[in-house]
Amino acid sequence: MTWITRNWTMSGIIKGLIVTMKHMLRVGNRPTVTIQYPYQKMKVSPRFRGLHAVDENACIGCGICEVNCPNGTIQIVKYKTRWYPQVNIGMCLFCGLCVDVCPMNAMKMTGNYELADYSRESLVYGPDRLLFNKEVKQ
């Protein structure tokens, strides 16, 4: 008829109460797992697919990434006498296909995931913001 007649002792509810009490007292490997985001940050893995980065010396501006991008995110633009990709983060799926297809291994994805911005224009990452110089860094 009703739920209470299924078990007069309510042992199931009492068991549940014990489980929640165990969590409340943090008994037996049940710690607080919250990460307080702006103050603490999660560690992302080395493979994390975040903002793109382009090796200034390796990139030949061939445009294979442009062709292979499913969303048409990438455009090859001229920058300092050479051609480099420009990524519109607002349209990007972060699928990593551009990294996979790059014949020179020039493109990679960094662990930077805080990409929110105030305008759509600033979401377009030109070569000036994407390029890094491998030789200088290493």
Partner: protein
Amino acid sequence: MLFLAMWTGDIMFANAYELIVFILNFIGIYEPINNIFKTLGIEYILRIIIVFAEIAVLLVFALLTIMFLTWMERKVVAMVQARYGPMVTGPRGLLQPVMDGVKLIGKEDIIPAKADRWVFTLAPFLVFIPALLIFIPLPFGESLIISDLKVGLLYLIAISALSPIAILLAGWSSNNKYSLMGAMRAVAQDISYTIPLALSAIAIVLFTGSLSTVDIVTAQNGTWFGFIPKWFIFLQPLGFILFLIASIAEMGRIPFDFQESEQELVAGFFTEYSGIKFAMFFLAEYAHLFSVSAIVVTLFLGGWSFPYLSLLPAAVVPLISLGVFLVKTYAVIFFAMWLRHTVPRVRIDQLLNLGWKIMIPLALLNLLVTGFLLTIGVFQ
């Protein structure tokens, strides 16, 4: 001299008014002030001022309690769910209720175009005022009671039965199907649970022979065999369980939160409310939580009484007893919060079945057995 009498525990006041008068007397300023008013022929003004002071203290206490309870609820649920809860505003997020209040006051107060404007505006107040009125006959401690009504228990049950009317008004005037269904559910629930609530409370009255809350608490003073406190929970275990279930239903919390039932009816009867009106429903809910827990403590857990409390000097008894009362009340509140985040919601027909087919017969049986045992003199 009076102080000495109080120290030895001879004086106990009927209510907080007399306590205030006594304290003023003790400091020595009551007589001069009273004389001034007497010469002007308006000594009732002084009484009114004292009563207003009491009400102000009570109001501040109630609002602070409500604010604390919203914080406590969030912390308890966070602890159950392996989280931190509010942490940013104030130490451990203690000022979060203040920020919530500021946010809610700053919000736009929307009245739906097809709503019944007057009833829609009136309903939050009608919910909030009874929630505060319940505090009047609650014995917070020895001598700490606003008014020791002769019919205190009846008053409590009557006032808490007011809230379904206001909820129905809110649900009807919103002109929203979810609101209406939530209000109907709330009314059905409140009506069917007030009966076992009252019936199991009457079993207590059989013991005390008085409806006054102070009498009920003083009847629970003392111990059996020197260590078991004379609380009615030990005389009325079945009554206690029934009363607890009914009062959780009365509070409108999971597993019985049909007035809201968020996942089914969006937000139940306050779906359309926003801003300060929503805040009033919210405050009323937590005021209810506190007051109903306080009633549970008063009736079954000995109120402010505690074994061997009378051995303490009488001057500190009001304060200590207030502490005892609050600890017990918060224990009940904690249980309600703990239960809320453990169990799912029952279905409305299951709830009504439980109320009418199980709890009311059991409460009547409890009453019968209690009356029978009292008549043949088992408890003398």
